[in-house]
Subunit: 347 residues, 2 copies
Amino acid sequence: MSGSQSGLVCPISSADGEVIQIAHGGGGRLMQDLIRNVIEPAFRNPLLEQRHDGAIFACPRGELAFTTDSYVVQPLFFPGGDIGSLAINGVVNDLAMCGAEPWQIAVSLILEEGLPLEKLRRVVRSMAEAAAAVGAEIVTGDTKVVEKGKGDGLFVTATGIGRMRTRGRPLASQVQPGDAIVLSGDLGRHGIAIMAARAGLAFESPLLSDCAPLWPNVRRLIEEGLDLHCLRDLTRGGLAAVLVEIAETSHLALEIEVGAVPVSPEVNNACELFGLDPLHVANEGRFAAFVPPQDAERAVAVLRQWSDARVIGRVGEEQSGAVLVKSPYGTRRRLRLPSGEQLPRIC
Amino acid sequence: MSGSQSGLVCPISSADGEVIQIAHGGGGRLMQDLIRNVIEPAFRNPLLEQRHDGAIFACPRGELAFTTDSYVVQPLFFPGGDIGSLAINGVVNDLAMCGAEPWQIAVSLILEEGLPLEKLRRVVRSMAEAAAAVGAEIVTGDTKVVEKGKGDGLFVTATGIGRMRTRGRPLASQVQPGDAIVLSGDLGRHGIAIMAARAGLAFESPLLSDCAPLWPNVRRLIEEGLDLHCLRDLTRGGLAAVLVEIAETSHLALEIEVGAVPVSPEVNNACELFGLDPLHVANEGRFAAFVPPQDAERAVAVLRQWSDARVIGRVGEEQSGAVLVKSPYGTRRRLRLPSGEQLPRIC
C-alpha cells in the first residue's frame, strides 16, 4: 500500500502498521492499490480479473437461488471464526437452505477509517478460504470507507447465487402434517461464543462458534435421495424464531420435545449464567430439516457425520400455526418470539 | 410498528415519530414487524413472499452479469435523489455497463439505532420505484441494526443479476485502437449536488444530481445495432478514473479534448468555488462508451434523447497505457489519478 501522494489526503497510521484512510474509499490511486494489493490477491479468479463493474459468466438453464446478508458482528474475530468466515458461511448456508449449491459470491465491504489493514487482510483471507471450502468463487465486490465513528471497524455484505440441486423447492409452504423435525446438531455455540468473547468469559475448554458451511451436509441429504420439504438454518432468533415462522407460514402446528434438543454442558451453564434460553440463541452452523417421517432416521444418520443430529419433534394436523414445546415433565407451553433478541450484533 | 413488549427492549422515540431500535435487528417480533410492515409492502412481489432465506427462480440458458455496491452517501436525501434511488440506479447502471438488462435485485440494510422510521419508509419507496422503472424486482434482502454511533443512519448494499443483451462482453480488454470515446452527457452534477447539500450552498436554479438509470440508454444503443466495445459509468473518481483504468487495462493510449467535455455553468462555477476539476467529480447517470469510429455519431444521436452526449476523444495506436488531455489551447497533459478523491461518501 503506497502512502499519501496528495495534499488532500491525511495519512493515519497506528502503532502496529498501516490503517484504512478516508482516501481508500475515494476512487483514486489509494483505493486502486487497496483493491489490487489487499483484496484481489486473496480472492484471485478469472472473473474478478475482468476488472469491470460486475462479473459476467455463462449460466446453463436451470433454477437459481439468490440471497444476501449484511454482517455487523462484534467482535470481528471470535473463537471459531471471524466476520469473514461468518459472512461467507452465512451466504453459503442461506443457499444450502434453498437446496442450492453455492456458486458465485459478491462481497461488499464498509470500512471504518482507522481499521488496521492487517485485520482486513485476515478477514479477506478467511473469506477466500470459506468460499474455496465449498467450491464457490468471490467474483465481484465493492469497497466503501466511512469516517471514524460512523462505522464500527468493518461491515460485510455477502450475496450469493446458487444452483438448485433439490427436486422441489424446500420452502416453508412445503411442510406437511406428519413431517419429522430433524435438528442437525447441538444449539447455541455461536451465540455463547460471541457473548463470552464480549464478556471476557473464559471456559475450561474453549467454546468455539459452530460457524460452518452447511452445503456439504445438505448435499449428502440430497445424494441420499431424502425428501427435503423445508430446510432452515438457525441464525438470529435461534431455533425458536425458525419454528415460529414456519408454523405461521404453513399455518400448521409444530410440536417439539425440549428434552430431545441437544445442548452442550458449556452452553447450558453459560445460558444459566446469562439467563438465556438455548432455543433462542443464534447458531451459524445448525439447521432444521422437515422431512417425511419415514426419512427421519436416515437424515439423522447422515447428519451425525458432522454433529449430534436428532429428531426433535413433528408437524401436527391442526391448522393452529402454533409451536408447542413439551417439557421432559410432560407440560406444554406455546413458544413465542421475544420482541427483540437477547444479544444484538451476533452476525 | 408495535412498541416494546419485553423488558430487554428499550424503546426510543423522536419528536417526529417512531425510530429504529436495537431490537429491530434481533430476529424477534419487532424485526418481523419491521420487515412485514415497512419493507415488504414497498417491494411486494411473489419471490419476496416466498419468505425464505433466499429467492428461488428459473433461469433460461444464457449469460448473466452479477454486481454489488454498498452505499454510504451523506446526506441520505439530496437534490435529485436519495440513498435508495442511488443504490438501485447504481446496481442497474453497473449491470447496464456489462451490457445486461437488470433482472433480480437483493438489498441489504444496515440501520443505525435512532433512524426515524419515516426516513426508512421514504428510502424503501425510492428503491421500489427505481427498480420498477427498469422492470427489475427486489426479490430478497436482509436488515441489520447497529447501536447509535456505530453507523450513520443507513447504509445500503444492492446486488443485482442481469441478463446479458450485448453480442460480446463490453470489457476494457475489448477497447480497440481507433475507437471513439462517447460521453453520454454533461459531467459533475451528482458530486456538486452532494457537496452543495453538505455546504448548505444554494444555486439560483437548483442543481440536481444526475442520478438516473442507464439501462434505457444502453438498451437503445443495443437496439440500434451499435458495436459497444466497452461501457463504463462515471461514478467515484469521475471520468478521469474510468479513462485511467481503461488505459491501464487495455495498455492503449487514450486522448480526450477537454473542450469537448460538456459541463453546465452551475457545475463549472461550483467547481471553481470548491477548487475541483469536473473530470474527477462523481456522476450517477453518465457513462462513457467506446465504439468503432463509424458508430460514434449514431451513438451520440441515440444518447441525445437523454442528455448532451458528445464524442470527446479517441483511442490511440500506442501501447502507452496513458491518458492525454488536450486543452482548447492545444497543450497536452497526462491525466493521473489523485490518491484519494475530493469528496468522500459521494455514493
